[in-house]
Amino acid sequence: MAVSGFLGWLNLRNVGVTVIFPDEIYDGKETLVTIRLVNRKPLLPAFLLRVEVSGREALFPLVERAGADSDCVMLTFHGRGAKLLEKATVFSPFPINFFVRRRSVAVVAPFTVFPAPRECLPGGGAGKKEARGEDFSRRKGFGGEVTAIRDYTGSDPLKLIHWRLSARHGELKVKEMAAPSEDPLVIDVLSLPGGALEENLSLAAYLVNRAVRANRPVGLKFGARIVRPDLTRTHRLRLLTELAVYGAR
């Protein structure tokens, strides 16, 4: 009994836990989180460790000495905001299933839970495309109006060759066309139709994601503070973070 107790104690010593969160975590939605267990014991493997993080467990049957292993668990977080996972519980019935020995391990993994997106119709209300006007971006594309005619460079797609002009000039001419685009969108979070603040944040999160997917630069407006519109992925995450931590400081 004494020996097994000692072995159980030894088994839980010198283990470290790191938790790797995905980039996007939404309030109340299941997310796959990676738990990495590091066995820092120089001589002994770590046996049959279970790691509990926020109520879910990952099982590590055997981690070699001075080795590491990873496992994934589905986690759901509630409440938006910047959060910190401070500790995980490591426990094990090893060596003999008489007692379960447990120990909490400092993890210190910060993560942000974004507001859960809630569907809403895009800004400008329901209306026909014509009514809202149409715009083209400054980037080149295929779907828009012809913006210029220039000489064929050899790398242009054949469908862009302007056959009529080419015939007239005696050399190949190609059309340059604009990509269809929509107006940069700035969402005034506080005036969204959700009512309560949390509702508005959820609507805004949905709108941000939808706008970026639709290739539309998007920004945010909280009262007087404005985050300028842009279209990159990092920008989108920044916007979602703004929504997540709004009002926290």
Partner: protein, 643 residues
């Protein structure tokens, strides 16, 4: 990948086999058949994935067998039904479904089976079985833990080896503890489990009847009869006295009432001191080197013909110290009852009677008659034999005048009869002759095959004198030794010394030895002596050791990290400040900040995690900041209390 379940199944089988192996020869017929069948079934079933015996069927079977054996229980018959029941239960479990609880039952039943085997036989081999079984169970228990967590778990071969080796290290590591507990745990004066050992379990051993001609051959039984710790002695002195047979009834020598004839102690003759460890036997006679004068360590009865009889029930483990003189002579204080020692049976072969009479007439004195008889045995061409012994109605006659071949019983018996017929008082002594000296253990091993009988002749002026007529036979030279020679003999002796140490150190370890050990340890500590120079330095040394210990302790405290201590203190402060919130050492700082809504706590958490998250220590200014926060919290607490 190796499935944990497969390994568990194999180990469960192994455990069952190890537990049952020593018990198996003592089982009744049903478990004797059932157990191998169950083992076979278990192997085939796990190979071919047969559905196991499960649920109510196993329960009903268990119940039936339990009833069957429970009816056989009685006060005198405890062990056998228990052993059979254990075997049957183990068989059912082996054939049955394998869930964690059933595995545990298999281990427990195997251990019980092994423990039960000690009621039938106690040998050093038990230790080997026990060690192997404990090892198997330790590894199994660890694997079972894996199995309980996830029954479909598989490990790599390498991983499995790791698990097994660490698990096997467990019993190895517990050996020192086991030894410690064995030595210090209190031990009762009397064996607790004696009632479990059937009293007549061993029929071999010294009988109180010698009847030549009762069987055609003598079995060669090599089981040990006794071991005696002793210095090495000349071979001709190795007579181990057991019982004296003084009455001849027909062909049989038996022990009659001993006629009072107090022996005279050997005076200043050198005594050989030995400690005798007899094997468990049904015989009440305590064997010792001839001629034993005193015996200590066991409750006994000593008769005047120096036969020592154990008081109380026979059997059980014991040992005793003896002191013997080796001249082979017992002097008496007064004379003896000559008539008693000359008595002959009514029916005696006329040829024997005639031979005795003639020797009596020709001899003149008793010693003259003895030499004549010895001359007769020497010259008549007797041969020592253990097979094809005389078995006619008058076996002694047949032995002396026709076959001229027999074992010690014939020699001793006829020698004593002829002496009595010649008018010389004589009696038979039963015991052992010979022994193999074990240099390793420093003891003699005497086996049952060395059982022997010889004659004591009473000579006026000298006393009872030992005479061994078998010595006159051709072919007696090899008696009293082991048949095997060379390597085999060495191996045998080696194994036997293990058995000897086991007996000595474990089986006969009792309260007395325990107390002696404690006394010895106590006096060793009291008399601990240091060189005189060291004694002066002792205080200095002591101070140095204490200082080092203190330094290490402080250092360890520092390793515990000032920051962690700070956090602990802070948590305690907050807990006092907000008594309605339960704060445990595992409460996170941010969690606490949220719970209390206290900006102090929030600031503290930010600073602390700011450092921790960047994996660096707190800077001096940060530490000061935290201390400031703690002061603030303390003051806030003070004000709130005043309000």
């Amino acid at each position: 990948m190796v499935p944990v379940k497969a390994v568990l199944d194999i180990l469960a089988l192994l455990a069952a086999l190890l537990g049952m192996a020593p018990l198996f020869p003592y089982l009744g017929r049903m478990p004797w058949l059932l157990f191998p069948a169950a083992v076979l079934w278990a192997v085939v079933a796990s190979w071919k994935r047969f559905p196991p015996l499960r649920g109510w069927r196993a329960t009903v079977l268990t119940g039936i067998f339990f009833l069957y054996y429970a009816l056989q229980f009685s006060r005198d018959n405890v062990v056998e039904p228990a052993a059979n029941l254990l075997a049957v239960l183990l068989s059912i479990r082996l054939a049955g479904e394998k869930i964690p609880r059933n595995y545990l039952q298999i281990y427990a039943l195997s251990l019980f089976a092994l423990a039960t085997s000690t009621a039938f036989t106690l040998s050093g081999a038990f230790l080997v079985y026990l060690a192997l079984l404990l090892l198997t169970i330790a590894v199994s228990l660890v694997l079972l833990t894996f199995f309980t967590v996830d029954s479909r778990l598989s490990l790599t071969r390498r991983g499995m080896r790791r698990v097994a080796s660490v698990a096997a290290a467990m019993p190895a590591a517990s050996v020192p503890l086991i030894l410690l507990f064995f030595i210090i745990l209190p031990r009762p004066q009397f064996p607790l489990w004696n009632f479990l050992s059937p009293s007549g379990d061993r029929t071999t051993g010294l009988g109180d009847r010698v009847e030549p001609g009762s069987s055609a051959s003598v079995a060669e039984v090599a089981t040990p009869a006794l071991r005696a710790r002793s210095s090495k002695l000349p071979r001709e002195n190795l007579y181990w006295r057991g019982v004296v047979l003084n009455v001849l009834q027909g062909n049989a020598w038996v022990r009659g009432d001993v006629v009072e004839e107090e022996p005279r102690p050997p005076g200043n003759a050198v005594l050989v001191r030995q400690t005798v460890f007899p094997e468990a036997t049904a015989s009440p006679y305590l064997v010792a080197l001839d001629t034993p004068w005193s015996m200590n360590g066991v409750r006994l009865e000593k008769s005047f013909d120096l036969v020592f009889r154990k008081k109380g029930a026979p059997g059980g483990r014991l040992n005793y110290d003896t002191a013997s003189s080796v001249q082979g002579v017992i002097r008496t204080k007064a004379g003896i009852d000559r008539e008693f020692y000359l008595r002959l049976p009514e029916r005696l072969s006329p040829r024997i009677l005639a031979l005795g009479k003639s020797i009596g007439q020709r001899g003149g004195t008793d010693s003259g008659r003895l030499s004549l008889l010895e001359g007769y045995f020497h010259s008549a061409g007797f041969r020592y034999a253990k097979r094809d012994l005389p078995r006619s109605a008058d076996p002694l006659d047949e032995f002396l005048f026709e076959k001229k071949a027999g074992n010690c019983e014939f020699f001793a018996s006829s020698f004593a009869v002829l002496l009595r017929a010649a008018g010389v008082p004589s009696r038979l002594v039963g015991g052992y002759y010979g022994g193999e000296y074990n240099e390793l253990g420093g003891y003699y091993l005497v086996s049952e095959s060395m059982a022997h009988a010889w004659v004591e002749v009473f000579l006026e002026g000298a006393g009872w004198v030992r005479r061994d007529p078998s010595r006159f036979a051709a072919g007696f030279g090899g008696e009293g030794t082991f048949r095997h020679q060379g390597l085999l003999k060495k191996a045998r002796l080696m194994v036997d010394s293990l058995s000897y140490f086991w007996n000595q150190a474990v089986i006969t370890y009792d309260l007395d030895k325990q107390l002696r050990l404690f006394n010895a340890a106590g006096s060793a500590i009291r008399n601990l002596s240091f060189p005189s120079g060291l004694r002066q330095f002792m205080p200095v040394l002591l101070v140095a050791v204490l200082a080092l210990a203190g330094f290490l302790f402080r250092k360890r405290r520092r390793w515990d990290s000032r920051e962690e201590r700070m956090v602990r203190n802070f948590l305690r402060l907050v807990a006092r400040r907000y008594p309605h919130i339960t704060v445990t050492p595992s409460t996170g700082l941010l969690e606490l900040a949220e719970l209390t809504g206290d900006p102090h706590v929030r600031r503290f958490a930010d600073v602390r995690y700011g450092a921790l998250y960047r994996d660096r220590k707190l800077t001096e200014s940060e530490r000061k900041l935290l201390q400031g926060i703690m002061r603030d919290v303390k003051q806030a607490r003070g004000t709130s209390r005043r309000v």
